[in-house]
């Protein structure tokens, strides 16, 4: 504080008008308005101020003082209060993370996308034997672990889905090829060893290069449109 006092002095030497030499009533007003649990009207403020202070003028000056700041003095319903500057409303949000478990349906779908990518929704449904709810796909998109990678060159040009790098990091996989194959799945007992001979597990690849039967996504292919009812706008980190 001592250093500040010095600063004020030096400031006042710089220019003819010293912007820091504030009248005491501004200090009083700002303290009252700051501490008050509700907006205060001019009459209430006047009662608390020393006699002879023109509260109206002081308020106007205080308002001007704070106008360029992150906190503004505003008048609401004829009462005065400090409020965060309107342009900083984005700052007034707190972001928190909450841990959520994926639903069984979502994990199943994710597993199929991981092994069978690039894969369309219809193909996923064929493998699972049940229709996929849109919500499940939305949730998976929200995880950031899957992404639409192109469009299959078939009638209807359905989207093809694949996994992302975030997927690898979530499951501590160095590469997609680290996903266990048929023999390993059998070895761990996850797959029945008496499966028919024709049974196979694809060797998955998340190569970004599109396959021959894939078209690239089009510029207009925003996820919003792809997945119809929009998920909340996300800070786009997607691929």
């Amino acid at each position: 504080m001592a250093s500040l006092a010095e600063k004020r002095v030096s400031d006042s030497e710089d220019g003819p008008a010293d912007p820091q030499a504030r009248p005491e009533e501004l200090r009083l007003l700002e303290a009252l308005l700051f501490a008050s649990t509700e907006p205060l009207d001019q009459a209430t403020l006047a009662k608390r101020m020393p006699e002879g202070v023109d509260v109206k003028v002081a308020l106007a000056q205080l308002q001007a003082d704070y106008a360029p700041r992150g906190v503004n003095l505003v008048r609401v319903a004829n009462k005065w209060t400090f409020r965060t500057a309107a342009d900083l409303s984005w700052l007034m949000t707190r972001e928190s993370t909450e841990t959520r478990r994926l639903s069984r349906a979502a994990i199943e779908m994710l597993a199929i996308i991981a092994y069978h990518q690039p894969v369309t929704r219809a193909e996923i449904e064929e493998i699972r034997g049940v229709a996929t709810s849109k919500g499940t796909l939305d949730v998976l998109m929200e995880t950031g672990w899957i992404r639409p990678r192109g469009r299959r060159k078939t009638p209807g040009r359905p989207l093809t889905f694949g996994t992302t790098e975030a997927f690898l990091s979530q499951f501590s996989l160095e590469a997609l090829s680290d996903l266990p194959g048929l023999d390993e799945l059998k070895g761990t007992g996850l797959l029945d060893s008496r499966l028919p001979s024709g049974f196979s597990v694809p060797a998955p690849s998340d190569d970004v290069t599109l396959r021959e039967d894939e078209d690239p996504l089009e510029p207009g292919d925003s996820l919003e449109l792809l997945l119809a009812p929009a998920a909340e706008p996300e800070t786009g980190e997607g691929s």
């Binding site: 649990t37 707190r94 959520r100 069984r104 799945l185 996850l190 797959l191």
Partner: protein, 275 residues
């Protein structure tokens, strides 16, 4: 722990003009013997480090004696302290024993002086602490804080084990489902008979059994079982007199019709042969 004031009106030890401590016997005002000792010590008007413990003990004992004279009911700890101080005083006055067991009188006196200094120091500190500007008394936080909206970002959890289990379970389930279907493709006699009965009901004219049967054959692999069961069922229906069968020659298509009600017995002898 404290007694009532009997005859002395002022609550605090005061000092006489000549610096002699006045003795105001009022235990009420003290928080225990140490507090009283400290108050007495302060009357010596010297640095606490330099107080005379001997003089202090005298003062304390004098105070207690006065209190007892006026029948002031003293809490036990005041008396305990008095006894201890009397002991300390005698030790201080007597020459040190040759082999002292325990602390010497000097050490005991120093310890007491230190306790007094410590109590005084903490009192001083607590004064300074309470004199600091206090929240909600002298200084105030924001009275009307603004709401900070909370945006929740979900962080999803799933393990590789979850993933693999899900994948294996799904693939396996599909495979097992196919196995089930294969079992059901055996065309049972009962099924064949029920189907034939429905067919015969509609077949007034000779119809090709094979063509009808083909409708039931979903998969070429099922052809054998469908034909075998149907043939056996057909024979049974013929035996029961519900239908007629006709075949031109071996391996030729089988024709069947509902047995006409008027005719008894076969119009044309069916030439039956088993494929």
């Amino acid at each position: 722990m404290s007694a009532e004031i009997l005859s002395f009106e002022t609550g605090r030890p005061a000092e006489l003009a000549d610096g002699e401590p006045s003795l105001v016997v009022d235990v009420e005002g003290y928080e225990g013997p140490l507090d009283l000792l400290l108050a007495l010590a302060r009357q010596q008007k010297v640095d606490l480090a330099k107080i005379s413990i001997l003089a202090l003990a005298d003062q304390y004992l004098e105070f207690i004696e006065a209190a007892r004279k006026i029948r002031l009911e003293l809490a036990a700890d005041y008396l305990v302290m008095a006894a201890w101080l009397a002991f300390l005083k005698s030790r201080l006055l007597l020459p040190e024993p040759a082999t002292p067991d325990g602390p010497s009188a000097e050490e005991m006196a120093t310890a007491l002086a230190n306790r007094l200094r410590r109590l005084e120091a903490i009192r001083e500190a607590s004064n300074r602490l309470m004199n600091r500007p206090q929240l909600q008394r002298d200084i105030f936080p924001r009275g009307n804080p603004e709401i900070i909206a909370e945006i929740r970002h979900p962080k999803f959890t799933a393990t590789l084990f979850d993933l693999l289990t899900a994948y294996a379970a799904q693939r396996q389930q599909r495979v097992l489902a196919t196995v089930h279907l294969a079992k059901r493709t055996v065309w049972s006699l009962a099924e064949a008979r029920a189907s034939l009965e429905r067919l015969v009901g509609m077949a007034e004219e000779w119809s090709c059994l094979d063509e009808y049967l083909m409708n039931y054959v979903v998969d070429p692999s099922q052809k054998a079982t469908v034909f075998a069961s149907s043939f056996a069922a057909a024979l049974e229906l013929v035996r029961e007199g519900a239908m007629e069968l006709n075949q031109k020659q071996a391996f030729a298509p089988l024709y069947f019709r509902k047995r006409p009600p008027s005719v008894t017995g076969a119009t044309s002898a069916p030439d039956l042969s088993v494929e």
